[in-house]
């Protein structure tokens, strides 16, 4: 709630590192890896806002990611929207889905694993729906036509994608930083810590949680929009599949849930681990997931506050 002295220093180092990175990383392979790492950090930050700060653990964050990806794709392909306009609508749609899901599940007092299961179920329902609906490309998925140029949110020079995701992540972190210090952030943490006590202090827990899930949904759909522009493709498994939901929570859990830099640190750690396992064990599909699982177990056992727990006494 008050200024943490470490944050300013860490911010400066991080900003300098990530801004200058493309000067040193010239191979497109490595630049692509860093771009995806920052993408996962953004997705993780969206999960972190709801799950880390608010304590509402979602197992279905793909429902927001997929909504961002699909709405922007469908609007561009089927309705001739400009990519930027489609992106704006997609982010609003992600927030709306968040507000709806939150209103429905929090109204009936769903908490903990029950809430997690409802989010998972929603993501699965959406996956089945887009997989069978012609408008959403059914089983084939959606291909975005190649239209290079910033006006279409497509870049031939991949460095621009790197800077785009860096800017989006920075904006998301700034939002979370601001929330962390705001009255709303204090309410959110109070709800996570003890809802009954929060209520006794006059905090409207329902409203706080719905606002949090709305913001989280909008942020995750920003990641979805980016994904579609970067790969120019999305299908039901990428958009609404459980893999994206797991990716959304892995980075913050490993980096430190409920901390500003947790998702970024977690994403970097996971990216590095993924590369190392590929180096050591070859490109066998799924072997990096195995390593992620082991890392998650080790972290949860020895560092319940994530890697950020190494830097600070408490989460």
């Amino acid at each position: 709630m008050r200024l943490r002295s470490g944050q300013a220093g860490a911010l400066f180092v991080l900003a300098a590192f990530f801004l200058l990175l493309p000067q040193f990383v010239t191979s497109s392979y490595w630049l692509g890896l860093w771009t995806l790492t920052l993408f996962y950090a953004l997705l993780g930050q969206s999960w972190n806002l709801l799950g880390g700060y608010g304590g509402q653990v979602s197992f279905g964050h793909a429902v927001f990611f997929g909504t961002g990806a699909y709405v922007s794709a469908v609007l561009q392909v089927k309705f001739g929207f400009n990519a930027w306009a489609g992106a704006a609508v997609a982010v609003a749609a992600g927030g709306l889905v968040g507000a709806f899901l939150g209103a429905v599940s929090f109204r009936y007092g769903l908490r903990g694993s029950y809430f997690a299961l409802v989010t998972l179920a929603f993501a699965e329902v959406f996956r089945v729906l887009v997989n069978s609906w012609e408008l959403t490309g059914s089983g084939f998925g959606m291909l975005i036509p190649l239209r290079p140029g910033a006006a279409h949110l497509q870049f031939t020079d991949r460095t621009w994608f790197y800077y785009l995701i860096l800017a989006l992540l920075a904006a998301a972190c700034a939002l979370v930083w601001w929330i962390e210090r705001s009255r709303f952030g204090a309410y959110l943490v109070a709800v996570r810590e003890n809802e009954d006590a929060a209520q006794a202090l006059g905090i409207d827990c329902f409203r706080v949680k719905v606002v949090a899930i709305t913001l989280s949904g909008a942020l995750a759909s920003v990641a979805g929009v980016f994904y579609v522009q970067y790969f120019l493709f999305v299908d039901s498994h990428i958009g609404y599949g459980p893999a994206m939901s797991v990716n959304a929570l892995l980075a913050p859990l490993i980096g430190g849930a409920g901390t500003l830099f947790g998702p970024l640190i977690g994403a970097v750690a996971l990216g590095a681990l993924s590369e190392l396992t590929t180096l050591a064990l070859g490109k066998t599909p799924g072997v990096n997931l195995l390593a992620f699982g082991v890392l998650l177990l080790v972290i949860l056992r020895f560092l319940p506050n994530g890697l950020m727990g190494l830097f600070r006494g408490r989460a």
Partner: protein, 233 residues
Amino acid sequence: MLAVDGLHAGYGALRILRGLDMRIERGEIVAVLGANGVGKTTLNNTLCGLIRPTGGAITWLGEPIAGARPERIVASGLIQVPEGRRIFPNLTVRENLELGSYRRARRNRDRNLERVLIWFPRLGERLRQQAGTLSGGEQQMLATGRGLMGEPQLLILDEPSLGLSPRMVDEMFGLIRRINAEGVTIVLVEQNVVQSLGIAHRAYVLENGVFALSGPAAQLVADPRLKQAYLGL
């Protein structure tokens, strides 16, 4: 200050409170006594807006508040310290206290913090400590202090002696009396009859959803019906 008339409340078909009348005057300590399961906590939650009453009226500072939203009731200065030391375990003692002043009296936060730390000096020694690491008595002090951070006009303490050692109970009750002496009206919802009557001005004895007895504390102590009502003999 607070008037309750013919209050009925319950959960679904379960009727817990069946026609309560109660008056609280400014500056008093009023004890609400009763054994387990007679409706003490239900009364508490109804006053704070967590449960909507099914009948009757609650008048607070001249305004009807039956069925009002809990946020509004807290903002108007009727603050509850919930049963069982509901603190925020992973936050520091200071952060816990500060959370008490968001909804009300935010501008006076520093002054109120100072005041709370004079009442509870042990909290002052532990401001940067995680609240979950405090002892039971200290957690109760923290929950009470957090309630006081909102400058309550009326503070409802739900079972402040619950699970505390006898020495800690003495200390806690001494502090309640002191807080009251400095101008905070207090409703003390308790099972601990003897000690509550020791510090209260008046008391209500709740039995199966109705007040079986009420009156000045000094009179009730000597009343043989108290034992009867309390033990259900």
